[in-house]
Symmetry: C2
Subunit: 277 residues, 2 copies
């Protein structure tokens, strides 16, 4: 009997972690383990407590006949602070500097564990929000977008800069890139986004915000709305930021190409308020 509870706890932990924001009826677990609902409730209480203590997330119980339990990711602020501090140090290495003041970040964006944690932290800010889909633009934002979408249990749509035969009919817009002031095109497969969708825009890097503004106009063509904007890194203060409301994990404070010095600080993630329900 003791073993049964152990087995249940392990399997439920795995099951719930794999399905964030998905409502799992208590009867599902009761049948899965041939256990009484009261035992399942006790198990869930222990899991909830442990998740909260460890800064992993929480369980939300929905009462009633159509009720059940769902896991919401909720990385604790102390965990997030620690992670962001490490990320800042990683980004501040001088050998990332490329000609033109660009930063080489492919190793960071190519590390699934770093990207997944970033995704969990961003998703924590939207865990209770109404989000139908995560949108990003090819290529570098894709991994982060999936990491966020996984935790929000929603699909990802990918905006492209060039048309591909495998996309079917597309809707395209022109936009002005904020920093280079060049006219560019972006397009999205027509059938990839339903009308009225609430969309969380995710990208790896934001400079003036031209690309994000482009995605916002693209959403208008789909009668979809922006539910949030989140980026991993925002560039140092620039004169004219085209986007007001967004969250960032990291902010470049000062990039000095001549002195080969990169100053990096925490983004605005912890200053957000009123974003959660």
């Amino acid at each position: 009997m003791k073993f049964r509870r152990s087995e249940r706890l392990i399997d439920m932990t795995h099951y719930l972690l794999e399905r964030p924001r998905e409502l799992v009826p208590l009867t599902f677990f009761a049948e899965r383990y041939s256990s009484a609902k009261s035992s399942i409730s006790e198990d869930l209480a222990i899991i909830k407590e442990t998740f909260e203590e460890r800064g992993v997330g929480t369980l939300q119980t929905v009462p009633g006949a159509a009720g059940g339990v769902k896991f919401l990711v909720k990385i604790s602020d102390s965990h997030a602070k620690h992670y962001i501090k490490e990320l800042c140090e990683l980004i501040a290495t001088p050998d990332r500097l490329l000609p033109g003041g660009y930063l080489y970040l492919a190793d960071i964006l190519g590390n699934p564990s770093i990207v997944e944690t970033a995704g969990k932290i961003i998703a924590s800010a939207y865990a209770s929000a109404k989000i139908d889909v995560v949108m990003t633009v090819a290529t570098k934002g894709i991994p982060l977008a999936y990491a966020v979408a996984t935790q929000l249990n929603v699909p990802v749509v990918i905006v492209r800069r060039d048309s591909k035969v495998t996309e079917g009919p597309t809707v395209s817009i022109n936009y002005v890139s904020g920093s280079a002031k060049r006219i560019q095109t972006m397009l999205l497969s027509k059938r990839s986004l339903a009308e009225g969708s609430k969309v969380l825009i995710v990208d790896d890097f934001m400079k003036a915000g031209g690309t994000v503004v482009g995605m916002v106009s693209l959403l208008e063509e789909f009668n979809a709305s922006v539910a949030g904007i989140a980026v991993l890194v925002e560039s140092e203060k620039i004169e004219e930021r085209l986007v007001d409301e967004y969250i960032s994990l990291v902010q470049l404070a000062d990039v000095d190409v001549r002195e080969k010095r990169i100053k990096v600080k925490e983004g605005n993630y912890f200053n957000r308020n009123g974003m959660e329900e």
Copy 2:
């Protein structure tokens, strides 16, 4: 005391699942929970048994002073068969057919849960193999590549068809696309791949295999070697497949544009042998 074991089991399950193939010393857990190593060993035995029973994976114990335990993903064949069958049905919907016989798969590739399961199944085939890095080509293979790399605990490198300033110096090659017989270019950032790396190539779709062959030649330029090739979908039998050894989850058996019919069957995943250590 009963609660302590419960809490340990939940937290260890979470901790291990988040870090596949990472060796965690028993002393780490012993200190984390202020528990005796013998209790930790008992916990791990229960977790291992539950993971194996549920077809999730296994725990591997490495004895000795530098020893510990690691989680290896190992989706059971029955789970994998079930998943692949569902995927086949999903792909066989006639409204995916695009002009030219192309298939719209963006909704499938945009579903994090589908992609993650595919990644776990592919990673199960390589869980014990020596893999240093997963390589894919932008754009559509990226989510699957991350899903596999997450489970193998290795970085992802992304080959591009165009050069980007944020990549730094690149190495490029020309290759012949197998189906269209066109000369194309692909390139990889020079600092993204270390010499001698053992590389698992992952892509969403393989037709004749020209792109994969291109990636293989690119690896030669880096003195890196191919540790495996895995694709989600391979196209129907074509005269001249350029690649011999690969695994696929799904195979298109027959795409009839005029009749609007797509026949899909299981790929060669279950026929593989001798691939694992």
